[in-house]
């Protein structure tokens, strides 16, 4: 047991030390998810040109729906001004997965929708609870993230998107 802990400790110490010297940005992990048409999409190779917002949500999550409905009203302007794409990743499992298309189309959303019914992408992204929103630059680096949603949070997100498109 003691030996195990020592090895773990050394590994951790080495990693921490290395993080100090190599400034590494967190990259989008590669996970295969299905979109609403059932086609496989690799999250690391989604191939969008501008910045990408990844928003984790679920049909049973009220603040998530508030956030995405608020951005829905602003989205045409955001796209024109920054070329941003929003990918709404639903963490609904098999119980409510079919309601994702009903809700997203019923609300006339223009987002890319991905399904993560077994939480593979959620786990890889370190998401504890939804809503959780990430901003990805054109090189696939995660440059900003925000947990929770309160009205007005979309303004902060948009400022971060503007910073990226100004570069």
């Amino acid at each position: 047991m003691k030996t195990k802990f020592t090895i773990l400790f050394c590994l951790a110490a080495g990693l921490l030390f290395a993080q100090e010297t190599v400034k590494s940005l967190k990259q989008l992990p590669s996970v295969e998810l299905k979109d609403l048409s059932g086609s496989l999409v690799n999250t690391a190779k989604m191939g969008f040109e501008g910045p990408v917002v990844i928003s984790f949500w679920a049909t049973w999550c009220s603040p998530c729906k508030k956030e995405l409905n608020t951005i829905h009203d602003l989205y045409p302007d955001w796209q024109d001004e920054t070329g941003v794409t929003l990918v709404a990743v639903s963490v609904d499992d098999e119980k409510t997965k079919r309601q994702v298309a009903v809700y997203s189309n019923g609300k006339a959303w223009d987002y890319e929708i991905l399904l993560d019914p077994n939480g593979d992408f959620k786990r890889a992204m370190g998401v504890n609870n939804v809503p959780h929103t990430f901003l990805i630059d054109t090189d696939g680096n995660i440059v900003y993230s925000h947990n929770n949603y309160a009205p007005g949070d979309e303004d902060e997100l948009y400022e971060e998107i503007l910073k990226l498109s100004a570069k």
């Binding site: 003691k2 030996t3 020592t6 090895i7 050394c10 590994l11 951790a12 110490a13 080495g14 990693l15 030390f17 290395a18 993080q19 190599v22 590494s24 967190k26 990259q27 992990p29 590669s30 048409s37 059932g38 086609s39 496989l40 049909t59 049973w60 999550c61 009220s62 009203d73 499992d93 098999e94 119980k95 409510t96 079919r98 309601q99 298309a101 009903v102 809700y103 189309n105 019923g106 609300k107 006339a108 019914p117 077994n118 939480g119 786990r123 890889a124 992204m125 370190g126 998401v127 504890n128 609870n129 993230s145 925000h146 947990n147 929770n148 309160a150 009205p151 007005g152 303004d155 902060e156």
Partner: protein, 555 residues
């Protein structure tokens, strides 16, 4: 520490330094409770007074190599978690290699075949549920549109003295899926999109029963399809399970089945879904003696909407009866266009949902109870009896009145058979509840908002006057300051309880601070006992009174 290890240390540090060129991600979570004695609501103070659960995931990838682990800690576990969880240690760990052709994992992994009717290994932290597989998995993609998976392992049953405890049986399975439009050249341009798949899962558990001859290997297998044509989407899966005498089915020798079909039509502004499900004798665990949430190999979600308002979600929730049920659901959403008569300036959304579940028809008339087959009844998929288990009819309207003010109005009628899906000790037969909810959101200033919910639940008395716990009223007020703070107050009042001494208020105050992906919350107050459900799985949380601190962080 011995001398050899001392020599080794710099090498390990050096090795991990090299590894650090890759990418690290993960998250941490900790929940602490300090609980008081509260005899009015039946809340007990645990002997240690304080309780704490903590978790940290660390995932590492470097090129094609991947590794990860989760450390977890229960000192001791918070209320509602399995009381055998204790200690600090590794709850999950794996190494693996992945490229475009093959993905191989050794150690712990999560997996789902098709819709999960045959196999689903997953984690739900909020429920304390984790039935991961511990063994080996390989996923192969021989060409675009073809995915083949193979899994082999023991399931996680528990976490005791800081160590993962495995279930008694081995689980193994294969699954294949073909996207025909990618595989067959002449379908490439077709409007009709077709995916087909098949799975086979088997478990092995030694027969240690002295009175019965039990099958040691139990298989389940089946197929699925998915068709998409323009705005229509149809999918379905059927899984058959061999003879599996278990504690759940009272050691009968019937085979089992589970099947689900969904048909939807969606376009911009409209969504319509129809679902049907049939389950018979489909509890499938890697240990036939277990119950509750333990070592389920498959996943049988309830076919109904997951509600969010407190009174609707936690007082009368329903979970699938793995022994058998037939269920149907219709889900509908429509948005009236902006600037139309009913849409107003911003558009108005109406939603409706109907779900119902019945006992399947189980015919024992042709069965000779003295024969030795152990078959207890005959049944046919989707053939149901007239015994109602569950029914939910609900409607809602969402409307934005102006830039600052919006609201949601909802109505629910829930009927639940308390003799089958046991939810309360205070009622028998069908509990019939009507619930109304008004939610309002007002934006005071660009970053300041106030939100309120008023909820009323009314139980229709039965012929003998019984109405479970009677009527409830809930009020919630929440004030948010974007992007960092929130404050909320909620009170639930069981004013209609027929027992006057149980007409109790449950007030609770919660404050939170959020900075990017870090979140702290503090709450103090009373929480009533109830079933807490996610998906088709529920956990009973006893009443409590006290302080809860929680912390989450992603990195």
């Amino acid at each position: 520490m011995n001398f050899k290890l001392l020599l080794l240390a710099p090498f390990i540090m050096g090795a991990s330094f090299l590894f650090a060129q890759g990418s690290i991600s993960g998250n941490a979570e900790s929940t602490f409770q300090y609980l008081n004695e509260d005899t009015v609501i039946g809340a007990n103070q645990p002997p240690s007074k304080g309780l704490i659960n903590s978790y940290m995931n660390v995932f590492y990838t470097n090129g094609n190599f991947k590794a990860g682990m989760r450390l977890e800690s229960y000192l001791p576990r918070i209320q509602g978690y399995p009381n055998r969880f204790d200690g600090t240690g590794l709850g999950m760990r794996y190494v693996g290699y992945k490229n475009d052709f093959v993905d191989v994992t050794l150690g712990s992994f999560y997996e789902q075949f098709g819709t999960g009717l045959a196999l689903r290994a997953y984690e739900d932290r909020a429920l304390g549920y984790d039935n991961l597989l511990d063994g080996a998995r390989v996923i192969v993609k021989p060409k675009p549109g073809i995915v083949v998976k193979g899994v082999y392992g023991y399931q996680r049953l528990s976490f005791e003295s800081g160590r993962m405890v495995h279930g008694a049986g081995i689980v193994r399975g294969v699954d294949g899926e073909l996207h025909l439009n990618e595989v067959l050249g002449n379908l490439k341009e077709s409007d009709l999109d077709i995916v087909i798949g098949a799975s086979f899962v088997s478990k092995y558990q030694r027969d240690d029963n002295s009175t019965l001859i039990l099958p040691e290997n139990v298989g389940s297998y089946g197929g699925r399809f998915q068709l998409m044509y323009k705005n229509f989407f149809l999918d379905g899966e059927y899984i058959h399970k061999g003879q599996d005498p278990s504690n759940d089915n009272n050691y009968i020798y019937n085979s089992g089945h589970a099947s689900v079909f969904n048909l939807s039509y969606t376009k911009k502004g409209l969504g319509l879904l129809f679902s049907a499900k049939s389950v018979d004798n489909m509890s499938y665990r890697s240990d036939r003696t277990k119950d509750l949430q333990d070592v389920f190999i498959n996943y049988l979600p309830a076919l109904n909407k997951t509600h969010t308002y407190n009174l609707v979600a936690t007082l009368y929730p329903y979970a699938t009866q793995p022994v058998g049920e037939v269920a149907y659901q219709v889900d509908f959403l429509y948005t009236f266009k902006r600037k139309s008569k009913l849409g107003g300036k911003y558009g108005t959304t109406i939603g409706a949902n109907f779900s119902t579940t019945y006992q399947p028809k189980m015919d024992a008339s042709t069965i000779n109870p003295n024969d030795s087959t152990g078959i207890a009844y005959t049944s046919t998929p989707f053939v149901m009896s007239d015994s109602l288990y569950w029914q939910d009819i609900n409607f809602n309207i969402t409307k934005k009145f102006n830039k600052k003010f919006s609201g949601i109005l909802s109505y629910y009628n829930i009927q639940i058979n308390n003799d089958v899906a046991k939810i309360s000790n205070d009622a028998q037969g069908i509990i019939n509840a009507h619930i109304g909810v008004v939610e309002m959101l007002y934006k005071i200033a660009p970053k300041h908002s106030i939100r309120a919910e008023l909820q009323g639940l009314f139980v229709k008395p039965q012929k003998n006057g019984e109405n479970d716990k009677g009527d409830w009223f809930t009020a919630l007020v929440e004030y948010t300051v974007s992007p960092h703070y929130f404050f909320s107050f909620m009170n639930q009042y069981n004013y209609g309880n027929s027992d006057a001494s149980k007409r109790v208020n449950y007030p609770i105050v919660t404050c939170g601070y959020i900075k990017e992906s870090t979140r702290f919350t503090v709450s103090y107050g009373r929480q009533r006992a109830g079933l807490f459900c996610v998906g088709g799985v529920c956990r009973f949380v006893p009443a409590n009174n006290g302080l809860t601190l929680s912390f989450t962080q992603s990195f």
